[in-house]
Symmetry: C3
Subunit: 262 residues, 3 copies
């Protein structure tokens, strides 16, 4: 039996909104550690990893490890019913082929429940080694989202270059070229902060970067970790519970097709 009760229901809504553009169907894995997901986008270029630790739930009962295959869009549709201050409970019985979502208003005046069929989804679990990165930027997530959106109106790819002074985002397209520099600022909270061993400059598809920024409502800051010849990690922390991480392989040459992630 599985029963997870999350007081801050709005959080699960935001998680689904952040991944539904990238992922169609995925397995949610439940264990004593927490509620997690790992999935590739349909073109196998980007990878999403989600973790909501069990400690973050008001009530977390998971008798056996369990993998629940769900259509992310349908799940997002159901979660739209929940108001932001609703308490969300996810329930299923061992061997059942359905999952139930229950939403309770804080006053208990309104209680909704939704039953959804589970799916069988083939998936391979990648082990992503924790690694050192050449350079790590932490910056306001809204600023990063705006930069990706703005650059998309000019070009298709972004070069992210990190030096000790700051991070530079560059693109070019038919109408011209653009550079945006965010300078390191350690005097203000939640401003741009750089940690680096080595300067890096890597190129990525803006289309994926824009998808990742759908997670902006989850956190005020985003962390971008870069190393040469490794996928970038774009991470949004979920307060006291875990994270959503997006991995994307760099583009080697502008004219080449994107490298597949695996």
């Amino acid at each position: 039996m599985l029963e997870l009760r999350l007081v801050q229901g709005s959080l699960l809504k935001k998680v689904l909104e952040s991944i539904k553009e990238l992922v169609t169907d995925a397995n949610f894995d439940c264990s004593s550690t927490g509620f997690s997901l790992q999935a590739m986008d349909s073109s196998h270029v980007a990878l999403v990893a989600l973790l909501l630790r069990s400690e973050g739930f008001e009530h977390y009962r998971c008798d056996h490890n369990l993998s629940m295959g769900m259509n992310i869009n349908n799940m997002a549709k159901m979660l739209k019913f929940a108001k932001n201050d609703d308490i969300i409970t996810i329930k299923t019985d061992d061997g059942s082929d359905t999952v139930t979502f229950m939403f309770e208003s804080p006053t208990q005046d309104k209680i909704s429940d939704f039953e959804m069929k589970l799916m069988d989804i083939d998936s391979e679990h990648l082990v992503i080694p924790e690694a050192e990165y050449d350079a790590i930027v932490r910056m306001p997530s809204a600023e990063f989202a705006r930069i990706c959106k703005d650059l998309s109106s000019i070009g298709d790819t972004v070069v992210i270059s990190i030096t000790r002074e700051g991070v530079k985002f560059s693109t070019k397209g038919d109408i011209g070229s653009a550079n945006i520099v965010c300078r390191q600022n350690t005097t203000v909270d939640d401003a741009t902060v750089i940690e680096m061993n080595e300067s890096v400059a890597l190129q990525f598809a803006l289309r994926y970067m824009n998808s990742f920024t759908k997670a902006t409502p989850l956190s005020n800051t985003v962390t971008i970790s870069l190393s040469n010849e490794r996928p970038v990690v774009v991470e949004y922390k979920i307060a006291e519970m875990g994270y959503v991480r997006f991995y994307l392989a760099p583009k080697i040459e502008e004219d080449e097709p994107e490298t597949s992630f695996v």
Copy 2:
């Protein structure tokens, strides 16, 4: 001669917005009692009844009973010109084939008038007997609107079930099933209140329910009156003036076509 002056002009705008999705052309009937309308939707499944009592107008002159045929969309277009605090006057002369709407800003700095051609519309006036209902729910209109909208993303029909504890809205569709329960709460103003002789469970097309909720801006609460084998009445009261009521025949079997209202 007809001359009706309504200080709260925003009210007439909201009335038109509430019916224009359902009704294309309709006769507005003016008598000493008030300004009223009764019309069926084009598929003859739902009925709208509007009453604005003469006492609610600042000035109400109606020398003879009069029926003015109007295209509801065109009338709504003209009323969009009125700002929410404008005073609206409706005027026509006996035998004239046009009606004039006049909008005055509260400061009298801006005065607009619109002349619109009247139409000849065949219509039959149904006498709707006042009746006892098995169960009546009064609930926040915004909550009812949200429930109808949310359920539409899952199914096409809603079963409304009323018991002493509360009202339950249920639907099912390809992606799963949903139940929303609003519990009776007599301790808070404008919360859900149930009055019942007998428990009922009736099924309706969500498409029409969603149309009815266009009247939500007219009132903080909506009253839903249900009896077996009778059309449901969804009523929005218009403060001190009257009401907009929507009637809809229940669906007998899920797979059958909707019963016609008359």
Copy 3:
């Protein structure tokens, strides 16, 4: 060399938004007087004239008179990157075929620059004689925008009639006719004020009037100058810097094609 630094960057964004619907490509002319533009719309019916005086810039260096041909849409796209409180610098070198826009955040934490190719655009500079007008209306720009938008839902042309009492906007269409009168009011700031030698009534295409109102964010008031047999001037003043003016030839007969401006 050209280097113009504008502290109130939002102003240039609004200017571009106000003209981009009407003008595709245009030459920006820089001289010691200021930064200006004159362009006709693609159908040669309306004319736009912009002036930003050199005194309004924080720094204004223009060694030689210069004409920079730009695609207005691309320029507007680049200016969208600037936040409203960004400082904008426009730079180019003598003989260069590119122009650079630089946006600095007030804290200097974020600096963006954009390089755009200049274009060769044939254009003829019209000398528009300063003239006396039969009647001039100054009215709230938001009110004028709303009137043009509202009337467009009924008809294609507007008759603007000015008398000592006020200004009347009239249209007719298939669904009826509409008149909106704004009365002169000299007791309130930014209300409607009439100056006239002679009453006028001229007819214009609403489509152009609606385009002109894209300049509404530039100023709280708009000035409309009318004379028989002369193009109307719709002017939005830009505080302490200059103006955007739109010129439109009146329609002579309702059924005739619009007169070309030149």
